[in-house]
């Protein structure tokens, strides 16, 4: 999992570098300062979901499979709220601000970076949802705690990437 995270970090780093390099280079069209609002709710949910998934791992380690399942479900729900926020933001940007991936360099780098992150969130949510289902069906057992922890590491990574994206796009870029 460490190696996978390293590979993914390398992948994201390139998109981050592209974003940083292209700041201010758009030839026209909407600029970040004009159209971006900091996604506070989504960020709180996503970062809280790191806490809930850690709690799930701990619960499973102690043998409380049911409780672990509940925490996993909470994680998934928090992640879904985050995604919904992203979807709403994109909808607003496309329909009202007129910003698409082809509008200008900002649009290109923004949708690529945030979209790459969102796709990783989706993959993470699928894995966590499956684990929640396994917990509910009692297929998940305390012996699986280490493997579930590895999945939680992936989720923590996704959250850490979000912190970077938040800083680069919504703080530095604006």
């Amino acid at each position: 999992m460490v190696c996978l995270i390293a590979a993914e970090a390398s992948l994201f780093a390139v998109f981050v570098v592209a974003y940083l390099y292209d700041i201010g280079k758009s030839l026209g069209g909407p600029s970040p300062g004009q159209v971006l609002d900091v996604p506070v709710l989504g960020t709180i949910c996503l970062l809280s979901s790191s806490v809930t998934v850690a709690l799930a791992v701990r619960a499973l380690g102690r043998g409380a499979v049911g409780r672990a399942g509940a925490w996993l479900l909470a994680t998934v729900l928090l992640g879904v709220v985050f995604l919904a926020g992203t979807a709403a933001e994109w909808s607003r940007l496309i329909t009202r601000a007129g910003l698409t991936i082809g509008t200008n360099l900002f649009g290109t780098t923004f949708y690529a970076l945030v979209g790459l992150h969102a796709s990783h969130v989706i993959v993470g949510l699928i894995m966590l949802a499956l684990l929640a289902v396994f917990a509910w069906s009692r297929a998940l057992r305390p012996a699986h705690a280490e493997r579930v922890e590895l999945v939680s590491w992936y989720w923590h990574f996704v959250d850490a990437v979000w912190v970077v994206v938040l800083t680069v796009v919504y703080v530095i870029g604006r």
Partner: protein, 559 residues
Amino acid sequence: MSALAPTIAAPDGATARTGGLARAHEWVVTVDHKRLGVMYVVAGLAFFLIAGLEAGVMRWQLAGAGNTVVSPQVFNRLFTVHGTTMVFLVGIPIVFGFANYLVPLMIGARDLAFPRLNAFGFWAFLFGGCLLYFSFLAGEGLYGAGSAPDVGWFAYAPLTGRAFSPGNSTDYWNLSILVMGFGTVATSINLITTTLTMRCRGMTLGRMPLYVWMMLVVAGMTVLALPPLSAAQIMLLLDRFLGAHFFDTPAGGSAVMWQHFFWFFGHPEVYILMVPGFAMVSEIIPVFSRKVIFGYPMIVAASLAIGFLAMTVWAHHMFAVGMGAPLNSAFAASTMLIAVPTGIKIFNWVATMYGGRIRLATPMLFACAFLLQFLCAGLTGIILSVVPFNWQLTDSYFVVAHFHFVLVGALIFTVFGAIYYWFPKATGRLLSERLGRWHFWLFAVGFNLTFLPMHWLGMLGMPRRIYTYPADRGWDLWNLVATLGVPLQAAAIVVFLVNVAIALRRGEPAGDDPWDAWTLEWATTSPPPPYNFATAPVVESRRPLWDLKHPDDPDGPHE
């Protein structure tokens, strides 16, 4: 039988499947690292033949000024696919195929850590390769080389944008490599995990064979360097299909950014290809010199240094781009620096041979040629790192000569040496020494005849990637000489294939340890059983078989 120590039952003959289809099915569904390793190498060699044919056609065209063997369009497709094939469909599968086969055996493990992920990696590679070659059948049809990519193997933007590459040829390049990239990263994760967690008892990191160390470095580089290529390719896909502007210069995008991202992958990539060659000769040279490798800790340190430094030199492919004197100087410095650990290795290998009792069997012949040719390749690399000199030589035939000396003169030679060395382990049969010598000499002479003159052509002003050249440039003679090396190399490959075919049918039985070697793969049968070792080995030094053969003088106290 005690329940505490169950024996492993021998295969039950009654359940063994027979028949061609059943055997093929076994290979298709296998997750055994040895079978996957063989499949990788065989597939890689098949692509090697195809890419070699592509090269042969190009050399035929370039043998004289103004030849019209193929149209400019077809020639441009040929050099693009030749380069792409050799790097991604020959080099990568062969080096990872060998690692697949050897690493578990060398560390006394039963298989890789994730056997099914391993199989996924192989099939992702094969699919990507077939996708790339399917491009020849699309578009204009086979005679026009279909819709095969024609933008060069490093596909610079904005030539690859929709505006300058309409149609789907660039997409074939993009998607096939993207898919293969996932497989390669997966295999690297597998190798790292295996090496770090599945070594047999007694095998500390400091007792691993150098081959395993170097493949660990290679896997580490792959994990960090391949994703940037995937990232750049995703960006290119977004540009081409969703109208993004990453590399769209009229919209403010940056063509130079593609180069930075590509070479950030591309330079480690060539070390990913070359270091396995070092790994192979680090096993072959000691055995055929009858001496322990000289300076094991230093070679490990040098390998780690190379792995790290390889990530810092990428823009030496971009000295003519206009990055400015400070950046040019910085990358010149890092590139010259990486020559130090690389050169050290050559000294270690020669020092190993010094004072030995060298047996010039075929694997050792290839290793010796490697030493001289890699020396040449490394030195032309130093030449290229001298930035102003680079301004004349980059993008010319000098660079073509340099990287063919690295990838053929060094890597392919070590691969052939490795095949002769480990083929007996994998098949239980020895390859013919006589045919091996013919193979070696034909290839060595042909290779040097083709690629040595290219150094000179570059210095005479001949650029790369041209489908023809004017007759009054003074390049005709050396181009003709270079082409004359092609039939020799082709003949060498034919001899090699005949050698393999004969050996498979009636080669001399090899036994467990035909070369009197010292690492764990020689401690089991040839070929090894599916479970590799009947009992898990326990080692007490870097050369467990030396300890077994010389119980009065084990390695341990000397290390």
